[in-house]
Symmetry: C2
Subunit: 664 residues, 2 copies
Amino acid sequence: MAAKDYLAEERRNPAFDLHAMTNLIYGGPEKAEKWKELSRLVAADPVFRKDDKYHLSRPEAFKRALEKVKQAYKRVHELGLDAADSRLFRVLVDELQGSDLHHGMFIPTIEGQGTEEQKAKWLPLANSYAILGCYAQTEMGHGSNVQGLETTADYDITTQEFVINSPTLTSTKWWPGGLGKFSTHAVVFARLRTKGADHGVHPFIVQLRSLDDHRSLPGITVGDIGTKFGLGAYFTVDNGLLRLDHVRVPRDQLLMRYAKVSPDGTYSKPPHAKLAYGAMVYVRAGIVEGAGHYLAKAVTIATRYNAVRRQFGGKVGLETQIIEYKTQQHRLFPLLASAYAFTFTGKWMRKLYTEVIDQLNRGDVSGLPEVHASTAGLKALTTSFTADGIEECRKLCGGNGYLMASGLPDLYCAYVPACTYEGDNYILFLQVARYLMKVASQLANGEKPSGAAQYLGDAQRLCSVQCPAKSAADFLRPEVQLEALSARAARLVIGNGMRIQGAKNFEKAIADSAVEMVRMSRAHCQQIVVSKFIEQVQGDIEGRGVRDQLVLLCNLYAVSQIEANLGDLLEVGYLKPKQASWVHEALAELLIQVRPQAVNLVDAFSFSNHYLGSALGRYDGDVYTDLYARAWKEPLNSTDVVDGYTEHLRPLIKQQVWPVHSRL
Amino acid sequence: MAAKDYLAEERRNPAFDLHAMTNLIYGGPEKAEKWKELSRLVAADPVFRKDDKYHLSRPEAFKRALEKVKQAYKRVHELGLDAADSRLFRVLVDELQGSDLHHGMFIPTIEGQGTEEQKAKWLPLANSYAILGCYAQTEMGHGSNVQGLETTADYDITTQEFVINSPTLTSTKWWPGGLGKFSTHAVVFARLRTKGADHGVHPFIVQLRSLDDHRSLPGITVGDIGTKFGLGAYFTVDNGLLRLDHVRVPRDQLLMRYAKVSPDGTYSKPPHAKLAYGAMVYVRAGIVEGAGHYLAKAVTIATRYNAVRRQFGGKVGLETQIIEYKTQQHRLFPLLASAYAFTFTGKWMRKLYTEVIDQLNRGDVSGLPEVHASTAGLKALTTSFTADGIEECRKLCGGNGYLMASGLPDLYCAYVPACTYEGDNYILFLQVARYLMKVASQLANGEKPSGAAQYLGDAQRLCSVQCPAKSAADFLRPEVQLEALSARAARLVIGNGMRIQGAKNFEKAIADSAVEMVRMSRAHCQQIVVSKFIEQVQGDIEGRGVRDQLVLLCNLYAVSQIEANLGDLLEVGYLKPKQASWVHEALAELLIQVRPQAVNLVDAFSFSNHYLGSALGRYDGDVYTDLYARAWKEPLNSTDVVDGYTEHLRPLIKQQVWPVHSRL
């Protein structure tokens, strides 16, 4: 007998072809099928079960995670998955672990910065897990400022070795994932010194632990830095500390694709290579697509629960679904639209990556500053928004969102570091600002910006035009939306440009008006997301009703962003107060239109119950049965009378601690 | 030898008398001294140490918390503390526990709703811990909607007992703190039914567990609902589930101060009593003051760490303190000002409480609707802002804010439920909205609102006047600030009032424009906080320089709120775009002024290192030594080679799982 679908009513009459939407999201029917197939395989494997996830002490949880690493390695090989599908498989296992850094940082660093010889030696070892590695860059006193790292690597010409050392407490490597307990090796970043000269920070392969018994090697002090935010999330990652006491590594463990040290200690470095740009765009595209994906997970849970949960407005069982409440819709549906928007922005960035590679191959580096700036900004914009959005989804689930069983606290804690790693978001926005300030000065010289900043070529018009909207309905026109966001960004760029231009010290001027700079950069990036979403919605889209839904979501994303930034739009003089009220009206109308398809629109992401890991987000909506069953698995419930009663509670109740009252 | 003070430079030349400020915060020199004395006592007691806090499994953590409950009870009696100081003592122990609900909900409910006889019987038992109680109201399917509760209490006239029953899964009591494992008794809310009539939800005292062995009694199914957000925080609270299978309690365990059931089953109820209003104002005053207090904890940690942490802008050791960065200041200092603002708002509410009690004693209930609305709104405003503010402080500490050792993840997870309990914040804002809509219609009839809503009596002028500011400096004038926030609120109230007035169905009209309603209510409450802060800053204030600092903080709070709501102020037509730019300027100038006193201003809250529980927030700023030492206490570091290596990692490294590569 099929279980009851508590969301059946929501799923009646989908206005669009869900399969076609899923195909679009995952990049084609084959990829979508692979996603579903691997989802099923992972969910069916008892090693990957998640029901014990929040019941383990940290050492127990860490051990369980290692079991999953082993099983994932085994299954990936049994199934003969290629690199991309292996990555999917590990995503679906949904357990953060040291191996993430092995795959995500250690191997790519060797691939990117090793010579052919070094790659031939180290990559087979790493790919077969004969060695396990991590990326040891940040230090206790030095996070964002890589050039400030203190670890030293002195070249000893007599033995042709580097002597790597941690001279101070603040030079202790601090935070690298997988460093504490998991890795046998690390790429360690240290100041290369040879023949009395400091050549700055370079990467060295350093062995940390014995390959025979995993014990840390002489001169190596390595350990975990302690528990982090949340119970699930990074509980299972051994972010580590590392101190090196004059540890010697052979000369050829400096990764020498670019800078080299010859046996006699001579340092050489080719002219600055731009090749790393391609990899950077690729990584950032993944992060932005990931933002859409993780936001979609949170929105799926919140949307389904909001459709199941009833409160007020009727008799028991007939109360109003909380998804009907306007305040809930106003908070939730723009997040749904954002999940789609970021997914499409990520797709555009993947295309941008191939374009950049083409340009580099042709020796054309003219577009790189723009690509660097816009991808940095999009990483910052989407990760910050997604982190906040996941937490908002948790709040939208009321008290039960606070339970680990909702899956949402874990999702937030697992996601929020994305605002810090691969570039702190505020620092990235300031990089965007530097680029935009250069654009402003170039515009004065008649130069036109390229790529996603092209619209700024039209700055003169954008700075003088008024919003043409004459009704709420006008805000549903993409050209009206785009002009609004473009005009806002352009006016902030030109305004700041005029302010900065006169300044004697460019960097100081940027720093002094950093608040304005961030506001401007954010505006620029919001313009990009909306323009790319509009472009793609206007392209070829297959499947019944799919385009209509995407147009609706694109409108919702754009208008919700306009509403959230009405202050700017009014302040720069582009909108009139009356028009602002139409924006509210337009958004209210869009919320009404999205409501009937909300559950279908999250279903299209095709997340399995296993992957969501949420009693509130279950596909069938049977949330209360699930919550109740999960509660009884809590270790505190393993006995009726809790451990500690005899020692602490009983003496209190029996008036033995401070006798005040005669017994009952 | 005294340890080095890494913040000594920040503490040179305080511009104000810190002791006088501390006295003001805690309500006089005696209370401030008591706070400091109890802080020292708690910190010195090894039972209350917190260094094992994040290293325990949930059952271990729960047992440790019980140990602290026992020790707190003992020490409170040994020290002969009165009720208020006992509460302070438990706050300083800083461990959430079932006993919080015993003191915070179980005892007050009996005090408030019990007859004299019932109080004489139950209170001595509860006060001496001979029984331990909780407050079992919410059910799985029913959180905010108390009238929808399903648990039934049928009066059996033959035995003069109530038969209490959980008829459905959704009627399971769900969430009450202390219910799962700690409590022997509960106040259970159930639908009172007698002589075939359902009289709605009433409170009953129900025994859950044996006083001899703590085992759950026949008919009682009780347990913990499972782990919640975070590792510390509510880890140690046994939020519980409860199912009652026709459990019988004597008639006199219905709390009968108001509604009564006579032995023959006759139900009687006095005309609606307003007496509960006083208690409600008192509780909400505590919550608002608590918002200031907990925000101050987070701001203390973030401010000290931001003054210690250096990044970019110079050589190692001479890099720029991150507190100098404008984006950090723009995020952090308004939170510092808010901590002070909420502290003073709470103080004003305490005074309001005594006024309300006076009015009730005089039989004057005319002011109650306004008091009900404004206190509900202030609870919603300050708790939401504080939860977000704590998380912002965590983000302001970069990567290290993500460590449990920073104390900030725990603070957030412990605080954020305040947005849900004692009234969901969105629902509270809608209550404020209903009141404001009545004010709008009364204004049309020439009636003037009272209390904190008095300014709306001037709505006509506020709706037509333009902001008089002619420069950034004008925004530092309290009358300019206050008029801006008043005009914004008044225009939203009048605008919404006109829209709602014509509606056939008041409730439906409120629901349909709930988004606007919440915006309006928030605006009203922000006006109140600023006006009360201004009033108190203008009153008697002792101590060198204290008033100047408070004026500065009051300006900062007001201007930052104006900046955060420029969209509204422009949209309602009160501000002109040029004036908006002056607001940014005014705020930038205030940030510069606050900077030199930032550390002194957080020091004035006088939080001990024990109470803060943060390596980043230590008084002496020696954060790196502390972080390093804490890391080595992590259980994962108890062995060099981690548990699980032999079973899972070794087979991988030794190529036994899927032999691919010959051994190194």
